[in-house]
């Protein structure tokens, strides 16, 4: 479904500038991490949590793996368009003398992996094979026809084989990293302010604000998540940026409920009461005393939310409302390859590559979330 068919200007704008939003998202995510590391980590309870995490090898391994994925994601996010070259290798210019650019931007990852990107075969080939996977009927010199699998153009270079149209599977799977990170990261970044704002307002101020917020999230939560997402996508169109916003809007209710419950507890604590008695203004109490004490909740659920969103992407692609088909993603890879296991002999490398790379991102995120929870929860620490 294209945005034009919808006549929706917002959707058209997102279609045109969606890839830039991805770049902005990367910058935002790293700004957020940098801010978090510099302003929050030196304080308690984060300091002791960090000290604890130092003794947990699982947390470190997870963090390193996540950083590797992040690196691939960044390399694939910084992109620019090359100038079109004419026959003599000079940049081509249009009538007004402006340099003409390639229609599609290429990211650093594309440039690094250009052998993988450009060395395409005709069709399936097994990992590291030097011949095609399927056999063709070929006539030899004596006129007899035999079944032969044709030699590959680039034998032994495809670490994970090639897919149906001969593209390198490893490269396709690497392209999925950025999509997964953007969906998980941007989706989570949209959830947090929503959930924090509404949760704090409801929990701290109470009264009619609480009623309104509770009503809002009861309505949203009572619609099964996937149906809400599907109806949003049917209406706003498919696209990476749209999908992030939609996933964010559809899934802030869980964290909001948690934040509200925690706020109800915090409101009654002595230090908040003391601050109120001393006449500190309410916004200041919220910013200085309430929100910092919610950050552990937010961090843990952000990490878990992230892995949930990465998994959801694959399901959405299967349902037919995921990212556009021309965007490389694990969901699209799985969706395209879903009949390959019924082939004889079996083509397994497409599915395996997508599932393994997904597992390699989601498992560390879940493990890190668990370790954070253990390190931040004072009850767990005592045990």
């Amino acid at each position: 479904m294209t945005a034009a068919a919808h006549g929706n200007t917002l959707a058209a704008w997102l279609d045109a500038w969606g890839f830039m939003l991805g770049n902005v998202a990367v910058v935002l995510i790293f700004a957020g991490i940098a801010w978090f590391a510099s302003s929050v980590l030196p304080r308690e309870p984060w300091r002791s949590a960090c000290r604890q995490l130092r003794h947990r090898p699982m947390a470190w391994i997870s963090l390193i793996l996540l950083c590797l994925y992040a690196l691939v994601g960044i390399l694939d996010s910084i992109s620019w368009r090359d100038a079109l070259k004419d026959e003599q290798g000079k940049p081509r210019r249009d009538a007004t003398g402006r340099i003409q650019l390639e229609p599609k931007p290429l990211s650093i990852l594309d440039r690094i992996c250009s052998p993988l990107r450009l060395q395409n075969e005709k069709t399936y080939s097994a990992p590291l094979a030097d011949r095609q996977f399927s056999k063709d009927l070929v006539k030899d010199d004596t006129g007899r026809s035999t079944w032969v699998s044709a030699p590959l153009k680039y034998p032994g270079t495809h670490l994970l084989g090639t897919n149906k149209v001969g593209q390198d599977v490893l490269f396709q799977a690497l392209k999925g990293v950025r999509t997964a990170l953007v969906i998980g990261g941007l989706g989570t970044l949209i959830i947090i302010p929503f959930a924090l704002f509404f949760g704090v307002m409801a929990g701290y101020y109470g009264g009619w604000i609480d009623d309104v917020v509770q009503y809002l999230y009861s309505v949203l939560a009572s619609i099964p998540g996937i149906l809400l997402i599907v109806s949003f996508v049917l209406i706003f169109g498919r696209g990476l940026a749209q999908l992030c916003i939609i996933l964010g809007i559809a899934s802030w209710t869980g964290l909001c409920r948690l934040v509200r419950a925690e706020c109800l507890k915090l409101r009654e604590l002595e230090y908040v009461q003391a601050a109120e008695a001393l006449g500190v203004s309410r916004p200041r109490i919220l910013l200085k005393h309430v929100v910092p004490n919610l950050m552990h909740l937010v961090t843990i659920s952000a990490v878990l939310q992230f892995s949930g969103l990465v998994l959801a992407e694959a399901v959405l692609a299967y349902v037919g409302v995921g990212v556009p088909v021309d965007v490389g993603s694990w969901g699209n890879m799985i969706n395209n390859a879903r009949l390959e296991l019924t082939r004889e002999p079996v083509v397994w490398w497409n599915l395996m590559a997508a599932f393994l790379l997904m597992l390699g991102l989601v498992l560390p995120a879940n493990l890190l979330g668990d370790n954070l929870r253990d390190a931040l929860d004072p009850r767990m620490r005592r045990r």
Partner: protein, 326 residues
């Protein structure tokens, strides 16, 4: 009890109206009937007459909320809002956009395959999850505990699609024990349901074992457990009789959260295994962009969620005599 029930049902009404308004705004204000017609009839090359005709056949030609041409009550009733959205409050889902199917009777017919899949999955995963979690809680702090916990996180990190595709490959193609997909009438459906139910259980097991274990461990730290141990009860008896009963409330609370997930999970599972239930119905509707069906399913999903919530609250009184509803 009865007054509580009535109050809960009354509280459900504003929520349902909210869902109704939300879907109405989404489908008729953000997305107009004009767009729907063009999406279904195909592209921009459709003549305006064809679009008008399509809208007339389905009653989308009416004004959205206020019909100035009518008199009296007609100003409100001769509108899309009244005819398409308010009618849903009476469980009248209308007809589908594409094939003019009666959605209500479709739902009644497809409900049973969905239930035949969802109910065994739900009951068995609850049972297996709790048993395994108790076992892990029994061996807490040991090597087994650590290994099982890691396995749980691993199982949670694997995509549902992997369980579905892998299950079909292993049991359907390699071992040839069950049909890969399809559905039969009556009892013959059982052999088609084995694999989907198995996949459904395995897919949710990791999360439920981990959650139940945390709940059990929380209970184990409490005073009554120490008392029970002090009076000489065996650890097994403490866990299975005392802790299990007291842990039921938080476990039941997650049940309400898993019911919409059942709906969501069955969406993909049903389509993959060819079960002609509500999930498969919805997937088809999404594929053919049938907005009327999607609208009806959103509404039905929220009704199910609200009903599940009320049932959970009532079941609290069954497991904990201290809880009084009123």
């Amino acid at each position: 009890m009865l007054t509580y029930l009535v109050r809960r049902l009354l509280y459900a009404i504003p929520i349902l109206i909210g869902v109704n308004l939300l879907t109405f705004i989404l489908f008729f204000f953000v997305n107009s009937p004009e767009n729907m017609a063009r999406a279904i009839l195909g592209g921009k090359n459709v003549s305006d007459a064809a679009v008008e005709n399509w809208k007339h056949e389905r009653g989308y030609h009416l004004p959205r909320v206020w019909n100035g041409k009518e008199k009296g009550l007609g100003t409100l009733t001769q509108t899309i809002f009244y005819q398409k959205s308010v009618s849903m409050l009476r469980f009248d889902f209308g007809h589908s956009d594409r094939n003019n199917l009666d959605i209500g009777s479709e739902i009644r017919r497809r409900m049973f395959p969905s239930l035949a899949y969802a109910v065994p999955t739900f009951v068995l995963s609850l049972q297996i999850g709790m048993t395994a979690a108790l076992l892990v809680a029994f061996y807490r702090g040991t090597y087994l505990d650590t290994v099982v916990l890691f396995l749980c996180v691993l199982m949670m990190s694997i995509s549902t699609l992997f369980y579905i595709i892998g299950g079909q490959f292993l049991f359907g193609l390699v071992l040839k024990q069950v049909p890969i997909s399809g559905y039969g009438d009556g009892l013959s459906a059982a052999k088609f349901l084995v694999l989907p139910v198995l996949v459904g259980i395995v897919g949710g097991l990791g999360g439920s074992i981990r959650f139940d274990r945390t709940v059990f461990l929380e209970e184990i730290g409490k005073d009554y457990v120490r008392t029970a141990r002090a009076k000489g009860l065996s650890e097994r008896r403490v866990l299975y009789v005392h802790v299990l009963k007291n842990a039921m409330i938080p476990v039941l609370t997650t049940v309400v959260f898993s019911i919409p997930f059942l709906f969501m999970g069955s969406l993909t599972t049903e389509a993959f295994f060819g079960i002609p239930g509500l999930g498969g119905f919805t997937i088809e509707a999404i594929g053919s962009q049938d907005f009327a069906i999607v609208r009806a399913m959103v509404y039905l999903g929220s009704i199910l969620y609200i009903v599940a919530q009320i049932i959970t609250d009532i079941s609290y009184t069954l497991v904990d005599p201290r809880v009084r509803l009123g």
